[in-house]
């Protein structure tokens, strides 16, 4: 019976993490940055990175921890920025649980619909996340975006 309870608890955790990653995509597509940042633990870090074959090294394009991350997001509305509409498509997630901590890995792509209505693939890559469960709710401790795409049609003030 205990084994069944443990197994059930693990499935609940896995489902909660999948929901978190799905919710992340949904709030970004809605440009709801206030809700996006609520998915992060208080000292969590966001990173957007890619590999550069030109200098043969990984690059970090955006690496900011809270509360500075919150501060940057507050300013997004003040920037002149891309008005394309974005749609995240996220693959099934590989999750490794370790008590109240977990890692998750998923692949994703973002479609971008320009103001004229044309849709193009904007970026492709993967998420490599570290998660924590303080107070019974799964949150990002580190949300890392690793892009395969290195040349963006337009740059981004928004997280990906």
């Amino acid at each position: 019976m205990q084994q069944l309870d443990d197994r059930l608890a693990e499935l609940v955790d896995r489902e909660a993490i999948r929901e978190l990653i799905g919710a992340t995509a949904a709030v970004l597509d809605a440009e709801d940055l206030a809700r996006w940042i609520e998915l992060f633990a208080p000292e969590a870090e966001y990173e957007l990175s890619a590999y550069s074959p030109a200098i043969r090294a990984p690059m970090s394009w955006w690496k900011t921890a809270r509360p500075d991350l919150d501060r940057m997001l507050e300013d997004v509305g003040q920037h002149v920025r891309d008005r394309g509409r974005r749609l995240h498509v996220v693959s099934p997630v590989a999750i490794a649980l370790a008590g109240n901590r977990a890692t998750a890995r998923s692949q994703f792509a973002v479609m971008r619909t320009r103001q004229d209505g044309e849709t193009h693939l904007y970026v492709a890559g993967r998420y490599e996340d570290e998660l924590v469960k303080p107070g019974g709710r799964w949150l990002y401790a580190r949300h890392r975006v690793i892009l395969d795409t290195r040349m963006l049609e337009t740059f981004t003030h928004l997280p990906l």
Binding site: A54, M72, V80, T154
Partner: protein, 400 residues
């Protein structure tokens, strides 16, 4: 009704005919008369630090490769096989003992010498001499760690071309060895000159949400920062006094000036714009370098490099990176806005809806003066033999 082609009531030097940004023939002329007759930045020395390291790119519309030889010397060649003109080096960068063309396997040493021809007996009857068939070299030289190439023997030596404009940034750029930690590129839908304009003029600080808060001396009436004018169309801007960025005023208190490069005050900015296509922007502890590859009147490949000090601790590199990324890079707050601006300009210019644009600010070289941009177009006009405000109305006049 005001006609779209009505000239502004300004001196000839103070406005531009927007067709210099959109005309195909002018673009071709620029490649020949400017890009193939100046020193062009190719890469930073740190990108080809070891013998055999190479960096392939396009300069002046031509494929080139810069390579460090076994003797430590940096050389540059047209990246084209002497046999049937295939591209010899197909990777952007790497390390090689020799180069071999993938097509018919002709091989070249790092000094460009042709060292091998597959099935050479087939050339015996015609006496083909591989000693005369090395990769074709370009002039190549370095200044303060920056590698430049030149396609024209008549151009002055690199030292002469850059010495004066580099002097104010020599200490931060060459006292301690730097290295490239960030490289990305994008093809922007705009003309190369509009990007250089954007990199040169400070009036567009109004565009940037961060600059509006952190650089009050840019938009103020007087500023300790001044435009600095140099021969050959080069320019820059920096302060001899207190013109440090006030990041805390913008709420960006997490930025650190730790690791400020030699010769600079904390949070000081120094920028030089090299004619025709390079900007070096130093924000106290980090360096950004822009390089352009013009692809067409409305298409420009822009390369962005970020440089820090070689041998940085992980902690210090993270601080430089944070400073860099707040403004620059594909997620930088400022760079994204700049690209949107120059693409908007070119879209309207290509429509030829309004023929002229204005460069008429005169402010005693305060940062929002347009004099550095006017100087750029004087040099542009001198080189292409066109007036920037009337390029299609006679070809022998010079603007300014």
């Amino acid at each position: 009704m005001i006609a779209m082609s009505q000239r502004p009531d300004l001196p000839d030097t103070h406005y531009l005919d927007n067709r210099i940004f959109t005309d195909e023939a002018i673009f071709r002329r620029e490649l020949e008369d400017i890009f193939q007759k100046v020193w062009l930045f190719a890469c930073h020395e740190s990108e080809i630090a070891k013998p055999g390291d190479f960096r392939a790119t396009v300069a002046g519309g031509k494929p080139i490769v810069a390579v460090r030889g076994t003797d430590g010397a940096i050389r540059a060649f047209y990246n084209v096989c002497r046999h049937r003109a295939a591209q010899v080096v197909c990777e952007d960068s790497g390390n090689a003992k020799e180069f071999q063309c993938f097509y018919h396997h002709w091989t070249y040493a790092l000094d460009g010498a042709c060292t091998g021809i597959a099935k050479p007996e087939g050339y015996k009857r015609v006496g083909l001499d591989k000693a005369k068939l090395g990769l074709i070299p370009l002039r190549c030289d370095s200044y303060a760690g920056f590698v430049f190439v030149c396609m024209n023997d008549a151009v002055e030596p690199l030292n002469e071309y850059l010495r004066d404009i580099f002097a104010p940034v020599l200490a931060p750029l060459s006292t301690t060895p730097l290295e490239v930690f960030h490289f990305h590129q994008a093809t922007i839908a705009s003309n190369w000159k509009l990007w250089q304009d954007n990199n040169s003029e400070r009036y567009h600080s109004y565009l940037h949400a961060i600059n509006r808060k952190t650089l009050p001396w840019v938009t103020g009436r007087n500023s300790p920062m001044k435009l600095r004018m140099f021969a050959r169309g080069h320019s820059g801007y920096w302060s001899d006094g207190d013109a440090a960025a006030n990041y805390s005023a913008g709420g960006y208190s997490g930025l650190s000036a730790e690791g400020t490069l030699p010769g600079l005050q904390e949070n000081e900015m120094r920028v030089i714009n090299l004619f025709p296509d390079v900007m070096i922007n130093i924000r106290s502890n980090v360096v950004r370098v822009d390089r352009m590859v013009p692809l067409g009147p409305g298409r420009t490949l822009v390369e962005w490099r970020g440089l820090g000090v070689k041998g940085d601790s992980a902690e210090l590199r993270a601080k430089r990176l944070r400073h860099h990324n707040l403004f620059w890079g594909p997620a930088g707050r400022n760079l994204s806005e700049d690209v949107i601006a120059v693409e908007s300009q070119w879209k309207c210019m290509a429509a030829d809806a309004v023929r002229y644009s204005i460069l008429a600010r005169e402010e005693d070289l305060n940062p929002t003066d347009d004099e550095n941009v006017r100087a750029f177009y004087r040099e542009w006009g001198r080189r292409v033999g066109l007036r920037a405000n009337a390029p299609l109305e006679g070809s022998d006049a010079t603007a300014g």
